[in-house]
Symmetry: C2
Subunit: 323 residues, 2 copies
């Protein structure tokens, strides 16, 4: 049996009950071996309630990082399920980590305990957004590195392209640079320099794309800095909610029908956000995740770990002089 995906049992709005059920589902339905990290008594109780007592290994962690914790505070907690879990993957117990905890806390702890992979300048968060074309577009960086250099953006593009290959099955992903005009040279200081670098990188660079192109499937990967990416991701979620709320208020459709549309656009149905560029694979599921989403996140974590995103990029990660 391959090494297990390490799952934070204590994170999320519905943890540990939904997390434990998700881990059980990952193992039974998808054949993904898992180990649960958290307060052992609580986790074993949930396993028993799920009818899976003794079926899944449990690693004890005394403390729980609150969902309101966004960064530094989580790093200082040495006995949390995040700290114990990251130490397990760092030390080789498993190839990947899954948490539905606060994104800020998970990213901060991951960077602190795992560190970036060789040749990678900074990590980036990748999220698969569903498109009207029926597939998905990878948004990277969705919030891990808020002040990147152009060189970091060029690497994010490679990491995002690998994600599109491994998780979405796109053979030769088209990469677009998020900017404020499709023409070459449009943008701010950061994107103008990144655009030049991207034209020299070993990937299929489409050119610049705009905020209106995010959900159309115009490209397979949209690369941007972590600040703009995070604003964009939250704006997509907020605008979908607002549009459906207005449609409901105008009486154009019933709430059950509109709820179906909302779920279709929920980025979390695609398995959560993947933190790429560290020494191990980390997947952050949405805090509101139910069991099926956790199970999907475990599958994504296994696929990414088996594909070894950074290792397969190898010397393609080197930055060439821009043209």
């Amino acid at each position: 049996m391959s090494r297990p995906v390490v799952v934070d049992a204590m994170g999320g709005d519905h943890g540990p009950a939904e997390i434990v059920r998700g881990a059980v589902e990952a193992w039974r339905e998808h054949g993904v071996p898992v180990v649960l990290v958290g307060q052992a008594g609580v986790v074993r109780g949930e396993l028993a309630r799920a009818g899976a007592a003794g079926e899944i290994d449990v690693a004890h962690a005394a403390d729980v990082v609150p969902m309101t914790e966004r960064g530094a505070g989580a790093v200082r907690m040495g006995c949390s399920s995040l700290a114990v879990g990251f130490d397990l993957v760092r030390d080789g117990a498993g190839p990947a980590f899954v948490s539905a905890g606060s994104t800020g806390a998970v990213v901060a702890c991951a960077v602190d305990r795992l560190g970036t992979a060789p040749a990678v300048l900074r990590p980036a968060l990748a999220v698969a957004l569903p498109t009207t074309a029926g597939g998905a577009t990878v948004l990277i960086d969705a919030g891990a590195t808020v002040d990147p250099t152009p060189e970091m953006i060029a690497q994010f593009a490679l990491l995002g392209a690998s994600y599109a290959q491994l998780v979405l099955g796109v053979a030769d992903p088209r990469v677009g640079l998020l900017s404020i005009g499709a023409e070459p040279g449009k943008g701010n200081r950061l994107t103008r320099r990144a655009e030049i670098l991207l034209r020299g990188m070993p990937l299929r660079f489409h050119g610049n794309v705009e905020g209106g192109d995010v959900l159309t499937g115009a490209v397979d990967v949209i690369v941007t800095d972590g600040f703009t990416g995070n604003v964009l991701l939250k704006n997509v979620e907020g605008t979908v909610r607002a549009t459906l709320a207005l449609a409901a208020a105008e009486g154009v459709a019933g709430s059950a029908d509109l709820g179906r549309v909302a779920r279709r656009y929920d980025p979390e149905t695609h398995g959560g956000a993947a933190l790429l560029g560290l020494t191990r694979t980390v997947v952050v599921a949405h805090g509101s995740s139910r069991a099926a989403t956790i199970a999907r996140a475990c599958v994504v974590a296994r696929d990414l770990a088996e594909g070894e995103v950074v290792a397969r990029l190898g010397d393609r990660l080197a930055i060439r002089p821009g043209r």
Copy 2:
């Protein structure tokens, strides 16, 4: 009679016919005096077709800036309706300018021919976005200054608050800084410094807001740099379109009903984008504007000009040391 609003008759996807009809509507329905700038024969022909021959003054401009022109090229055209129109307002023929031309071209020509007002560092584009709460939130800067300093962002906040007072009638607008977390200190280098400055400015600073807060009416003004603002504005438009397309594809509502929702969320129904911080008022209507939207843009231009956005801010525009 007060001085007329100067209207670019040649800009827009439906110009000059819809522009001329909009100008006539502004005058007849809203009492806004206007002068039309463009190829005199064409414009007079449209006035005659609208049953308004001789009712509106016409200023001749030989050339037309193409809708595909986004900046520098427009600045070099000395006899376009933009060049002639901006010269008219600069020289005092009217207090404000309205165009449905390419936003990039209008902004570039406006900055070139009008210049920034005293004490203003850079201009910013303000757009009123409809909210689920029933009102509107002003987004500033939506694309005029893509690499601002923190000091410029602090001034944009004051300009946006004035816009909310003059156009939306909000007595004491709450201003939020767009960032990636509501907590103080969350953000990138630019927003962390801007946040400190904003706490020292003479305005009602709400703190940080996120990409999901844009359409909820949480604040009256959202301030950001012109790059992030432009990405956000286009993403709102694209996400509304995508959500409604998906709702239609899922068969939850008829296209006529969904079209009503789309129009409700069209930023252009609120009068277009206002370029604030120059020596005169400039309003950029959407390229797809029909007559009623042009008329509304003329009303906004008059209101902003009468309120004299920059003059009323006076020494409040001065930047205090951050805390």
